[in-house]
Amino acid sequence: MKLESKIPAGPLAEKWARHKFSLKLVNPANKRKYEIIVVGTGLAGASAAASLAELGYNVKAFCFQDSPRRAHSIAAQGGINAAKNYQNDGDSVFRLFYDTIKGGDYRAREANVHRLAEVSVNIIDQCVAQGVPFAREYGGTLANRSFGGAQVSRTFYARGQTGQQLLLGAYSALSRQVANGKVKLYPRTEMLDLVVEGGKARGIITRNLITGKIESHSAHAVLLCTGGYGNVFYLSTNAMGSNVTAAWRAHKKGALFGNPCFTQIHPTCIPVSGHYQSKLTLMSESLRNDGRVWAPKSKEDAVRIQKGEIKPTDLAEDARDYFLERRYPAFGNLVPRDVASRNAKYVCDEGRGVSKTGLAVYLDFADAIKRDGRKTIEAKYGNLFEMYEKITGENPYELPMMIYPAVHYTMGGLWVDYNLMTTIPGLYALGEANFSDHGANRLGASALMQGLADGYFVIPYTVGDYLATIGPADKIPVDSPAFKEAEQKVHAQVNQLLSIKGERPVDDLHKELGHIMWEYCGMSRTAEGLKLAKQKIQALKKEFWTNVKVLGDSEEMNQALEQAARVADFIELGELMVDDALNREESCGGHFREEHQTPDGEALRDDENFAYVAAWEYQGENQPELLNKEILEFENVKLTQRSYK
């Protein structure tokens, strides 16, 4: 397939403005003749649905939670970047662009990232106008902080609940359009297939999660804003329901999947406590500004700590290894997420991990408390310390916190062109669901920015161009054969899941998949391990389809059934992630292939051979997928090796 990124010509800083001018417009009186389906009501979906409805389009918005306000964007804590330069500290659109491209280890498109940086300033204006209570200075201006190692303070935040406040802002705009009759909401409704006819996206098939009813919805365009797929690892910081089903089923209908192996592992999460663990909780990255990361120097001490014979505070200073400070004297505890995560893993692999499981390292605030006083630390991190204590039952003012890396974000996703359109005309992907602007590694506070940029400021322009091209008559009714056939397939899959009547509950199989992915396709990867993982996943797929146990009926609320369909898709996605990781014979950002590292153990990129987006094309059940490459051109930045020594 020929991939056309549709990147506009012209100088970087003028591309978006020129492109907006060249896009076709839908006449205001004609907008109400178009229907748009928006799947997902997170930052990307809610902002898109509200903005499109304001323009006059008829929108149908879907989510699987009971309310659009509960999309997983709600859980983002830290903040949102914008190149406002309110602090006069040298920030600019170009600097935000540059930091984001570099942070992504040069695996994103220059033009997209620059547009993101441009519209970042409008996002803050929009959110403030909606009543989002961002943090303020005493004088009343907006407050900023520096986040994720950035050298400027460009992060806007609302306490530790930035995602919640941004989402509630978008949700309120969405609710206003529901009241205006321009948006029809479908909560507790899951998209289970995409309908493609005549080479265009025509609508979706859904299941009403309360009644189990399978339904068809037809539209002129479909926007997938369905979030990330971190739950392929079973344990992650994502919500329990986060899934890949909508994107995956679109992939199987012809939408290419970009860079599936690019996953972000966050270094500061609360460690696993037992086999019953269902999810992992993120502790804000800001903790690394004051906490010192360490593990015992000797294995013997680590074992005594694991057994509970001694406490960490019993270990003398010279028996501790502050491994980040030791290896990276310049950046110390503030090295990027991927570097911090990998180093914690190595320490634990050496047997020097702590906690009962041996899978944790310390994040110690004792020195910070001694230096600044408990009061200051409490003011900065009080709510995080409280949250930690609620979950672990330990007091972090007295004992060092225990942390371990966890899957947090997926940079990969549906391949989209500059207009956010997938390879299926009329099908768009926004937010974390697309392969995105974050390259191989996302910087902190930039996912919220991207979701809202896509929804508020990009899609309202680009979707109009498509709609104006096809015209209002180009839509097919829900009783046409394409819809009926897709409905039949969904029915058949639902019935098949219920009829297997095997031995193993869905979660049990999901855990096994997660284990394989974490072990072989997680923080560090080898060709050998990936090949083994592929075999294991294929075997698991067979096991799933012969031995899953889903009770109950299809015509009722059936949570196990919902989850079974999601896990089935995760298994297939897992295999593709492994293929992608195997294909990418380099290390970049969150993708670390042990075969490709510098003599001192850092990621070694291969720009000559791998400066491309890997876009995978589905070839049919159990067939290897076809690799398509979108070569990335860098005209405005020079590719350099990251160094944090």
């Binding site: 509960r70 106008a129 400021f457």
Partner: protein, 252 residues
């Protein structure tokens, strides 16, 4: 530890429900309350019995999805926490725990412990927003908002829409939820101009949904996982509603 559970089981909204006894022998105190339910559901499934349906998603106290009424308290014995943030170390070996859904006329049971809270969405739709379109905003720093005001708005905005306030209230009133949104938007300059109409419409919608009247007992605020203050109810009554507690602006 050993835990005896009495769990509300109800097939759907048309059938009667009842409490059913379950026993779990191997509960770890580090488990979250919902993880204990995962363990229960795993064993029920293996035995061929229908697992318990309950709402949950983020499991970190922010989405507002989880909603269990535990031993007579919304979200259980801990204050300032949601059900998903509750851990088994809050209980003792051998305890009997009664788990029910939120009970309110406006929150009908869907199945087992899951209820329908779409009434909350309709209340927000009736006025819980600032009327501004995408693209028409001015520079964010042109609106100066003193930190104290921003902080107060943030306190109100922290509501997660879980409905525990309704479940805790003997009248099943949604006043705390409504007043939190009214208050947040009214104290910010961006939302001020619409404040009166907003309050009227939201209260009217609350009545239309079948929530009860507020008799200011304060039970809601005690059980609220975000400790939303009763001050918001007082402010709403005083400043935005006056004596008028319903309006012709009601929709649907």
């Amino acid at each position: 530890m050993k835990i005896n559970l009495k769990v509300w089981r109800q097939k759907n909204n048309n059938t009667a429900g009842k409490l059913v006894d379950y026993q779990l022998d191997n509960v770890s105190e580090d488990m979250s309350f919902l993880e204990m339910f995962d363990v229960l559901n795993d064993s029920l499934t293996r035995k061929g019995e229908d697992p318990v349906t309950f709402d949950h998603d983020c499991r970190e106290g922010i989405c507002g999805m989880c909603s269990m009424y535990i031993n007579g308290r919304a979200h259980g014995p801990q204050t300032g926490a949601t059900t998903c943030q509750l851990h088994m170390r809050s209980f003792n070996d051998g305890d009997t725990i009664v788990v029910e859904p939120w009970r309110a006329r406006a929150f009908p049971v869907i199945k087992d412990l899951m209820v329908d809270r779409s009434a909350f969405d309709r209340i927000i739709q009736s006025g819980g927003y600032v009327s501004v379109n995408t693209g028409s905003a001015r520079d964010a720093n042109e609106i100066l908002i003193p930190r104290t005001v921003a902080d107060e708005a943030m306190d109100a905005a922290a509501c997660i829409g879980c409905g525990a306030c309704v479940a805790a209230c003997k009248n099943a009133s949604a006043m705390l939820f409504v007043s939190a949104k009214v208050s947040q938007l009214a104290i910010l300059p961006q939302g001020h101009s619409e404040h009166k109409e907003r309050a009227e419409r939201m209260v009217a919608q609350m009545d239309a949904e079948g929530f009860g009247a507020c008799s200011f007992t304060g039970a809601c605020s005690v059980e609220c996982p975000k400790s939303i203050s009763l001050d918001h109810i007082a402010r709403m009554n005083r400043e935005y509603l006056g004596a008028k507690l319903s309006s012709e602006n009601v929709q649907g």
